[in-house]
Symmetry: C2
Subunit: 313 residues, 2 copies
C-alpha cells in the first residue's frame, strides 16, 4: 500500500503542494504559480500537472489526493470560485491519476489543520481567523469545520462592524475586512498619508499619528467582530493567523484588551497565534487526501514541527 | 408502559406545564406563577409541586420529565441562572417522582421544538429568534441546537450592532437587545415622548414621528444583527418568534428589505414566523422528557395543531 498522499493548497497567486506520509512527515514541499490570467481551464490543467509532478517524486502511487480550493466547494466538486472563474468542476478533473480525491474550502481546510495538528489540537469549538489580503474564518464546531447550510458560512470579514462605515470592495458598508485586512491597513494608510504602496507591517510599527490612527481603527474593527463571534458562538479560543498575526503583541495585546472591554457579562476567550503558518492549507489538504483514502484516523497522532512558543504570553 | 411525559417551561414570571403523549397529543396544559421573589429554593419547590400536580392528572406514572430552564444548563444540572439565583441544581431536585429527567436551555429548547415540530421541520441549519422582553437566539446546527463551547452561545441580543450606541442593561454598548426587544421599543419611545408605560405594539402601529423613529432604529438594529448572523452562520432560514413577531408585516417587511440591502454578494435567507408561539418551550421540554425516557425517535411523526399559514407572504 502507498504510504503518502499528494496535498495541494490552491491560492489566487500561487499553489503550495506537498507529499505527506502516513505518519505526517512532509516528504516534499513545493510552490508553483497559479496561472489565473490564463483562465479557469488553464488553472485546472496546471493543478493536474503539478499533482502529477509531485506524485512522480514519491515512492510509488499516492494513496489519495487532497486539495484546498477557494469559493464554494463540496467534497467532490469545486462548485464556484469567483476569482478563478470555476463553476462545477468535478474533483476528478484535477488529476489524471486513478486515486481518490477530496476537496475542501481553503480557509476551512486550514482550520481543519489547526484543529487536528495545530493550535486547536483537542479543542472542539474555536475560531481560526487568518488575516491576510482578505479575512475569512473557519468556525470549528464539535471538532469539525462548519460551513453553514450551503457552504457560504464563516464570512466574518464581511460582517458590518461599523454600520455607517466605509464601502467595502464587496459592495457592503463597514465590513471588518475593509478596515482590518493586511491589504486594507496598507491601503488606508497610503491613502491618508498620500504615500503609495505602504505595507501593513510598516503601518503597525510606525509612530506616525496617521499610522496609529489607521491601526487603531483596524484593532477596533477586529475587537468588535471578535466580541460578536464570542457572544454568538461561544468559542473556547480564537486562533489568529495569516500575515497580520506576525505583528505579534502589536496585534494581540490591544485586540485582547478591547475584546475584554466589549464583553460585560462573560469572559473573553483566549487569543492564540496559529501554529502552522503558511503550511496550514497544505497540511489540511493532506488530511483530506488521507480521508479520501479511507484513513479518517490519521492526523491526531502526528507530531508536527510547529511553532512551540506562542507569539505572546 | 406509561404513555405520557411531564413537560415544563420555567420562565421568570410564570411556568407553563403540560402532559404530552407518545403521539404528541397535549393531554393537559396549565400555567402557574414562578415565586421568584421567594428565593431560589422556593422556585425549585414550586417546580417540584407543579410537576407532581401535573403527573397526578395523568393516567399512570409519567415516562419522563423534561424541563426548559433559563441560564447555563446541561442535561442533568441547572448550572447557573442569574434571574432565579440557581447554582448547580441537579435535575433530580426538580421532581420527587422516580422517573428520568432531562433539562434544556429555555431558548434552545424552544428552538428544538421549532426544529422538530414547527417552522423548521426538516431544516437542519437555521436561526430561531424569539423577540420578547429580551432577545436570545437558538442556533440550529446540523439539526440540533448549538450552545457553543460552554453553553453561553446564542447571545445575539448582546452583539454590538451600533458600536457607539446606547449602554445596555448588561453593561455593554450598542447591544441589539437595547434597541429591538419588545421591552426596549416600549421603553425608548416612552422616554422620548415623555409618556410612561407605552407598549411595543402601540409603538409599532403608531404614526407619531417619535414612534416611527424608535421603530426604525429597532428594525435597523435587527437587520444588522441578522446580516451578521447570515454572513457568519449561513442559515437556510431565520424564524422570528416572541411577542414582537406578532407585529407581522410591520416587522417582517422592513427587516427583510434592509437585510437584503445589507448583503451584497449573497442572498438573504427567508424570514419566517415561528409556528408554535408560546408553546415552543413546553413542547421542546416534552421532547426532552421523551428523550430522558429513551425515546429519541419521537417528535418528527407528530402532527401539531400549529399556525399553518405564514404571517406574511
Amino acid at each position: 500500500m502507498s504510504s503518502f498522499v499528494v496535498a495541494l493548497d490552491v491560492g489566487g497567486t500561487s499553489m503550495k503542494g506537498g507529499l505527506v506520509s502516513e505518519s505526517g512527515a512532509v516528504l516534499l514541499s513545493e510552490r508553483c504559480p497559479t496561472p489565473r490570467a490564463e483562465g479557469p481551464e488553464a488553472v485546472v490543467a496546471a493543478i493536474r500537472e503539478f499533482i502529477s509532478h509531485l506524485a512522480d517524486s514519491g515512492d510509488g502511487i499516492p494513496a489519495g489526493v487532497g486539495l484546498a480550493v477557494p469559493g464554494l466547494v463540496s467534497e467532490d466538486t469545486a462548485v464556484y470560485a469567483a476569482n478563478l472563474g470555476w463553476r462545477d468542476v468535478p474533483a476528478s478533473d484535477f488529476t489524471s491519476l486513478d486515486v481518490p480525491v477530496m476537496l475542501g474550502h481553503d480557509v476551512r481546510t486550514g482550520g481543519l489543520a489547526e484543529s487536528v495538528l495545530g493550535a486547536g489540537r483537542g479543542v472542539p469549538d474555536f475560531l481560526f481567523l487568518p488575516i491576510g489580503t482578505g479575512i475569512a474564518g473557519a468556525m470549528i464546531v464539535h471538532g469539525q469545520p462548519y460551513g453553514g447550510s450551503s457552504g457560504w458560512g464563516g464570512e466574518i470579514g464581511h460582517i458590518p462592524v461599523f454600520p455607517d462605515g466605509e464601502q467595502c470592495a464587496c459592495g457592503q458598508f463597514g465590513c471588518l475586512e475593509t478596515y482590518a485586512s493586511a491589504a486594507s491597513v496598507g491601503r488606508r494608510y497610503s491613502l491618508r498619508a498620500g504615500i503609495e504602496g505602504v505595507r501593513a507591517e510598516q503601518v503597525v510599527s510606525s509612530d506616525d499619528p496617521l499610522a496609529v490612527e489607521v491601526w487603531d481603527e483596524a484593532v477596533e474593527a477586529l475587537s468588535l467582530a471578535l466580541a460578536t463571534y464570542t457572544l454568538l458562538l461561544d468559542p473556547s479560543m480564537i486562533v489568529l493567523g495569516g500575515g497580520l498575526a506576525e505583528a505579534g503583541p502589536a496585534l494581540f495585546d490591544p485586540v485582547r484588551t478591547r475584546l475584554v472591554k466589549r464583553l460585560a457579562f462573560r469572559d473573553a476567550p483566549p487569543l492564540l497565534p496559529a501554529a502552522l503558518g503558511v503550511d496550514a492549507g497544505m497540511l489540511g489538504a493532506a488530511l483530506l487526501g488521507w480521508r479520501a483514502a479511507g484513513r479518517e484516523d490519521l492526523g491526531p497522532g502526528w507530531v508536527m514541527d510547529v511553532r512551540s512558543e506562542p507569539l505572546v504570553s
